[in-house]
């Protein structure tokens, strides 16, 4: 592994999607938990906990998609046209998630709010699930023809292993969202979320263990990669420690550290995923010769260089003001007349 431009962009695209998971992950998690409370004020509090930030968080996905398009256009083209229906469903889910946040509290009628609450929650849940399924398919391997085009079907994407990754992603986001919710709320809702968060942690740990076993048993090239490069165990170990640290910090009411551990768990999972995939972006099954790699699917070195300059200028600025904005909206949510 040498650090050429293609590798740098492999890492950067990974960083963008990991950033998306860490940030929008808690929005989608809050959405998935939304219907568990029936109380209107509590539902509003949950929405307003993510109110000022969900929109900026979604931009990580948009930029990640743009970066994939620019850096690896062949992967973008193959995956987006190949996973057509799955991505249309993802778009529909993201649309409902987004507009429901804006619409739901604009009218007082019960049916109105209930409808958009369902839209918000179902949109969040299905978004997380489909992103996980897409990731799962890429981990498992995707049928690619000699022409570089997707050679499978929509139903072929819904096999047990990708579905397991999808459920695990939902569990991860729910845990992440519940911990975020605990930090942003107080009173009765805070106490409820504390219980939900514990259940979500258990749910996630079960999923994570099952997924690890399934990966080692059924995705032999992942196990082989680990076998050939034993140092990868250090990341797997870091991942396990991060996951184990979540309930520990949470139990001691160091919610912020539990949240960071959850972020670390996501980061290490993505690193394991990336290191097992590298240098492929789309591992082709049944014929690995058709795989799309960071070399045969990439833009020209010149473009990758230009993009790196753009990212070098843009990303530090983005991170700086994102931190400022999270700082302005720190602390517990208080509903006022500007709230959703």
């Amino acid at each position: 592994m040498n650090l050429d431009l293609n590798t740098v962009w492999f890492i950067l695209v990974g960083v963008l999607f990991t950033g998306y998971a860490m940030l929008d992950g808690f929005d989608l998690g809050i959405g998935a938990l939304h219907l568990f409370t029936k109380d209107d004020t509590e539902r509003r509090t949950l929405i307003n906990a993510i109110g000022p930030v969900w929109d900026g968080n979604e931009v990580w996905l948009v930029t990640g998609g743009g970066a994939l398009f620019a850096a690896f256009p062949n992967v973008y083209a193959t995956i987006f046209s190949g996973f057509y229906l799955a991505f249309v469903l993802l778009l529909v889910s993201l649309i409902f998630r987004a507009v429901a946040i804006e619409f739901r509290s604009k009218q007082p009628m019960h049916w109105w709010r209930q409808t958009w609450d369902i839209g918000f929650s179902a949109g969040s849940l299905v978004s997380g699930l489909l992103m996980g399924v897409a990731l799962g398919n890429i981990a498992w391997g995707v049928p690619v023809g000699a022409d570089g085009e997707f050679a499978g079907t929509f139903l072929g994407l819904l096999t047990p292993y990708p579905l397991l990754v999808g459920v695990t992603t939902v569990a991860l986001f729910m845990m992440h969202g519940a911990i975020y919710g605990v930090m942003k709320t107080e009173g009765a809702l805070h106490d409820k979320l504390r219980i939900w968060a514990m259940r979500c942690i258990i749910f996630f740990v079960i999923c994570a263990v099952t997924l690890t076993m399934a990966t080692l048993l059924y995705v032999p090239r992942m196990a082989a990669r680990l076998h050939d490069h034993p140092w990868l165990f250090s990341i797997a170990l870091a991942n396990m420690l991060a996951i184990a640290n979540i309930p520990r910090e949470f139990h001691h009411r160091r919610d912020w550290l539990a949240f960071l551990s959850s972020c670390a768990a996501m980061a290490t999972l993505m690193m394991l995923f990336g290191l097992n995939l590298y240098p492929n972006l789309i591992y082709s099954l049944p014929d690995p010769a058709n795989s799309l790699t960071i070399y045969n699917a990439s833009s020209s070195p010149k473009t990758l260089g230009i993009m790196l300059i753009i990212a070098g200028i843009g990303v530090p600025v983005v991170i700086a003001y994102t931190v400022c904005i999270y700082w302005i909206f720190r602390g517990k949510v208080k509903l006022d007349r500007m709230s959703y």
Binding site: D55, G56, A70, F72, F80, K106, S300
Partner: protein, 459 residues
């Protein structure tokens, strides 16, 4: 229907619906900067009330703009995968830059604009409003870079990569400042400012008609009509420059806009009419020599006609002609409406002229229709090319996508977008009926602090 037709209908429909909202975000962004700036300058609380009210409208348009915008980014890959492989190196860079430079800025500071009223000082809030407005403009910059490259490709070379041809960047700044970029950007931005300004004008005129919130309405009209008239006048200049650019860079498109079949000097400008495609002539009112004059400042300038292009290289003539003339007609009508409104407003007699107020109420539709028609003209006029002169539209399609799949998603998006539009109109109407908040005349929270105090806090 075949895959090509369905894919084109789907992209056209989703982008047309999406484009109802970004111009409002850009235009209302400018209005918000004006209103909040005036408030900081004059300390007149009615400007604060205006900024608050229009921020709520802005939030509504922004949410739908974001929700429908992400669809566009996905559709390049889902429907036009071959195109994406061909242009990814060039076009993808512009999209990624849009994400990094525009969307983060816009959505990040939007949080402060919408929810930060009581949390930050006046100046920080005003700064955030400016950043949201700037972000919206940057977004227009990069998307027009990308689209203008499809109209007038520059700064690239065609290279074989894995056995297929594709465009690669040779000069980034040539790509960005491709021949049609600046003029098209100014045209798009002016259209967006008109969309925002006329929305403010329309709602304010409605309040005057109903004799409600009259101080608010008059102050809003002052800002709205000024921006509306200025943008409408500047739009003539940007439109003219854009059309000259089309004449130079895409002569087939200009010929289709004007229904001009035979290359000629002293070419007429069609003021109104329709194209008889069979007999290759235009029926209607023409201004002899004017088209030549506009293109080259001389009635003897030669304008290239459609017959100089092979039939398979010509854009659809009737559609291009109608979209273009519709846009131009509405554009000039907007000047008349804005000028009348502005003059009578200055004269102080606007509130007595109910007919004009009614026209102003409906004037909100003008920029929206002109923006839509303008984009239709620009995109239909580029046909049969997806990238002008380099790739034909049918060649850009995804190889693996079937017609029934596109049809399914087309029906799904259509239903959802109708629902979103209905809800948008319902909520917008609700906000307008509810009107500005009286309590917004009294700033609250940190904003209520006199500005001097924030500079010299008591110890």
């Amino acid at each position: 229907m075949d895959v090509l037709t369905l894919a084109r209908i789907q992209f056209g429909a989703t982008v047309a619906f999406h484009y109802l909202y970004p111009p409002l975000s850009i235009g209302l962004g400018v209005m918000l900067v004006c209103m909040e700036g005036l408030w900081l300058k004059t300390k007149n609380p009615v400007y604060h009330q205006m900024a608050r009210f229009w921020t709520r409208v802005f939030a509504l348009t922004f949410a739908i703009g974001v929700a429908t915008g992400i669809v566009m980014e996905f559709e390049f890959g889902t429907n036009w995968a071959t195109y994406s492989r061909f242009v990814g190196d060039v076009f993808g860079s512009a999209l990624a830059a849009e994400g990094i430079f525009a969307f983060f800025l816009e959505s990040g500071f939007l949080a402060v604009l919408l929810f930060g009223w009581d949390k930050v000082s006046r100046k920080v809030h005003f700064f955030s409003t400016c950043m949201v407005c700037l972000g919206a403009h940057f977004s227009a910059v990069w998307i027009v870079v990308a689209n203008s490259w499809m109209q007038t490709p520059a700064g690239y070379k065609i290279v074989m990569h894995n056995g297929i041809q594709r465009a690669e960047i040779t000069d980034f700044w040539q790509l960005v400042f491709n021949p049609s970029f600046m003029e098209r950007l100014s045209h798009v931005l002016c259209g967006a400012w008109q969309a925002g300004a006329f929305l403010v004008v329309s709602v304010s005129a409605w309040y005057l008609l109903k004799k409600r919130h009259q101080d608010f309405a008059r102050a809003s009209l002052r800002v709205g009509l000024t921006v509306a008239l200025t943008a409408s006048l500047v739009q003539v200049v940007t439109g003219h420059v854009s059309a000259r650019g089309v004449a130079k860079n895409q002569p087939a498109k200009l010929a289709a806009f004007e229904g001009l079949y035979n290359t000629t000097s002293n070419a007429p400008l069609v003021l109104a009419g329709y194209v008889d495609e069979k007999d290759q002539k235009v029926e209607g009112l023409e201004w002899p020599g004017m088209l030549s004059f506009l293109v080259g400042f001389n009635t003897q300038t030669t304008v290239i006609g459609l017959n100089d292009f092979a039939p398979q290289d010509r854009p659809p003539v009737t559609a291009s002609f109608l979209f273009f003339h519709g846009m131009v007609g509405i554009g000039f009508a907007m000047i008349v409406v804005a000028a009348l409104g502005f003059l009578y407003f200055r004269h102080g007699s606007l509130h007595e002229r109910r007919w004009l107020l009614w026209i102003l109420v409906f004037s909100v539709l003008g920029p929206q229709m002109a923006n839509q028609l303008g984009w239709f003209a620009a995109e239909v006029g580029r046909q049969p090319w997806i990238v002008y002169g380099l790739m034909r539209t049918p060649e850009g399609l995804s190889a693996v996508v079937k017609a029934n799949v596109i049809l399914t998603s087309l029906i799904l998006f259509t239903l959802i977008y109708f629902l979103l539009f209905a809800v948008f109109i319902y909520l917008l109407n609700d906000k307008i009926q509810h009107g500005p908040d009286e309590q917004d005349l009294v700033p609250s929270g940190k904003l209520a602090l006199p500005t001097e105090l924030t500079h010299h806090p008591r110890t």
